[in-house]
Amino acid sequence: MKHREIEERVRYILSESLDIPLGQIKLSTLLVDELGLDSYGILEITQEIEEAFDIKLIKESAVFPKLVTVKDAADYVYKSMRNISK
């Protein structure tokens, strides 16, 4: 899966899960400060991403909350997927 495609899907998941119009979720949008995700919300999104991409992130959930922007999240998914395929 291309990096760009992952970014789009992460934006789409956030939009659906939080009921925020896709247009308001940019790659530079801040997960906590702008989208209002709390620690539980991060877990929820993490799991939705796992299901969408069929990957496992939760045991690394200590890493996930450190991601600041939507782009950081997408990059992280991209890296995780490459690790799996290696």
């Binding site: 899960s17 009921d19 877990l43 929820e44 799991q47 796992e50 299901e51 496992k56 939760i58 045991k59």
Partner: protein
């Protein structure tokens, strides 16, 4: 003197109608909400019917974000709460929210999502079980979500006493207001048990009617040929309010709760106590608190679940408590139309009792065709009946012998 408690708002999602008007019309017209199950494969089950809520869109009542994060029973509970708040005309923003509580009954909680996660766990690995299963399955998901949604910080209860859950949730709310722990409580019940595993367990327990060819005629309380209950789903929430609080805001008062009692028959987890000794005790205690003699009861909303043992035992108990008056007082079971909605049943039936008082109409026991010599009382067969109603007794007897009764009374302002 104890604080008086009145009912000022109604919200209901029933298999035969959504909202109090549609629900009441269906009850009076004797309309069944039972149909064939289409959501999952029932081909290997003896029972293929249930009383399901069709044409219900939670998005009409609840924000999209919440709809996704809660189970179907919470949809019913939150929708009922919204309707009840609107019906009561209460402006929550003007109230002291520390004095407003919630009390909601449910037996199973959010089982649908949980059942799906069990399959996921076995198929994909347990590390894939969704975290939402915890907030979704919790029995307190309705009571807590109502509080969160409206910022209501008063007493908060989730009651699980089998098929008496809804009645006990309302009864405990009644006590909390009487005892000055709250001024207003949203009380009721919600249940969504028509899920593959839960439904199949009921079916295999041989408790359900097998009249799959005529679903709407399957549930027939007190009929000699009754062959079990029909599992149902739904919810109801009532606004209970301390009398002076209701009068101060000029609320419309539907009825007053005059008495309530509950106990346990301590006999069996599934079968009813055959002589109904403890059930009779609860009825008598409820009448005593209401300061009403048995002959003064105008209508009994029976538990009447359409199983052979229950309807026989309940009839016996009614004769023990009401003596000769048992043959005069109209008795009906709306389970004949809406099935058995478990933790929601007592709450939906309370809404029905309130509307009966309001309209002086008794909803019928439908599908009554064959008289049973062991059930020989007046069950208001097949057709609604007009009658002056001032007092109504509601019976709820659950599995595990959880008994709860309540007396509702037409509100009389002169007594204040």
């Amino acid at each position: 003197m104890r604080r008086r408690v009145v009912i000022t708002g109604l919200g209901v999602v029933a298999p035969n109608g959504i909202g109090k008007d549609e629900f009441w019309r269906a009850n009076i017209e004797g309309r069944s909400g039972v149909s064939l199950i289409k959501d999952f494969d029932t081909s290997k089950l003896d029972t293929k019917i249930a009383a399901q809520v069709h044409d219900f869109d939670p998005l009409n009542f609840i924000p999209k974000v919440t709809v996704r994060k809660v189970d179907r029973f919470v949809h019913f509970g939150l929708a009922s709460a919204k309707m009840a708040i609107e019906d009561s005309g209460i402006n929550l923003e003007r109230e002291d929210k520390n004095r407003i509580g919630i009390s909601i009954g449910s037996v199973f909680g959010g089982v649908l999502f949980h059942e799906e996660q069990i399959i996921t766990g076995y198929q994909k690995g347990f590390n894939r079980v969704n975290i939402l299963s915890i907030p979704k399955v919790s029995t307190n998901a309705v009571s807590s979500n109502i509080s969160i949604m409206h910022d209501l910080t008063g007493p908060n209860l989730a009651i699980s006493t089998a098929c008496a859950s809804g009645t006990n949730a309302i009864g405990q709310a009644f006590r909390l207001i009487q005892n000055n722990d709250a001024d207003v409580i949203l009380a009721g019940g919600a249940e969504a048990p028509i899920t593959p595993i839960t439904f199949s367990a009921f079916c295999n327990l041989q408790l359900l009617s097998k009249r799959n060819d005529v679903p709407e005629e399957a549930c027939r309380p007190y009929d000699k040929e009754r062959d079990g209950f029909v599992l149902g789903e739904g919810g109801a929430v009532l606004i209970l309010e301390e009398l002076s609080h209701a009068l101060t805001r000029n609320a419309y008062i539907y009825a007053e709760i005059a008495g309530y009692s509950f106990n346990c028959g301590a006999y069996h987890m599934v079968l009813p106590e055959p002589e109904g000794v403890q059930a009779a005790k609860v009825m008598r205690a409820t009448l005593r608190e209401a300061e009403i003699k048995p002959y003064e009861i105008d209508y009994i909303s029976a538990y009447g679940n359409s199983t052979q043992p229950n309807d026989k035992a309940e009839t016996k108990t009614l004769k023990a408590v009401f003596k000769e008056h048992a043959y005069n007082v109209p008795i009906s079971s709306i389970k004949s139309m809406i099935g058995h909605t478990a933790g929601a049943s007592g709450a939906i039936e309370t809404v029905s009792c309130v509307l009966a008082l309001e309209s002086n109409l008794i909803p019928p026991t439908i599908n009554y065709k064959h008289p049973d010599p062991e059930c020989d009382l007046d069950y208001v067969p097949n057709k609604a009946r007009r009658a002056r109603l001032d007092t109504v007794l509601l019976n709820s007897f659950g599995v595990g012998n959880n008994n709860a009764c309540m007396v509702l009374r037409r509100f009389n302002n002169n007594e204040t």
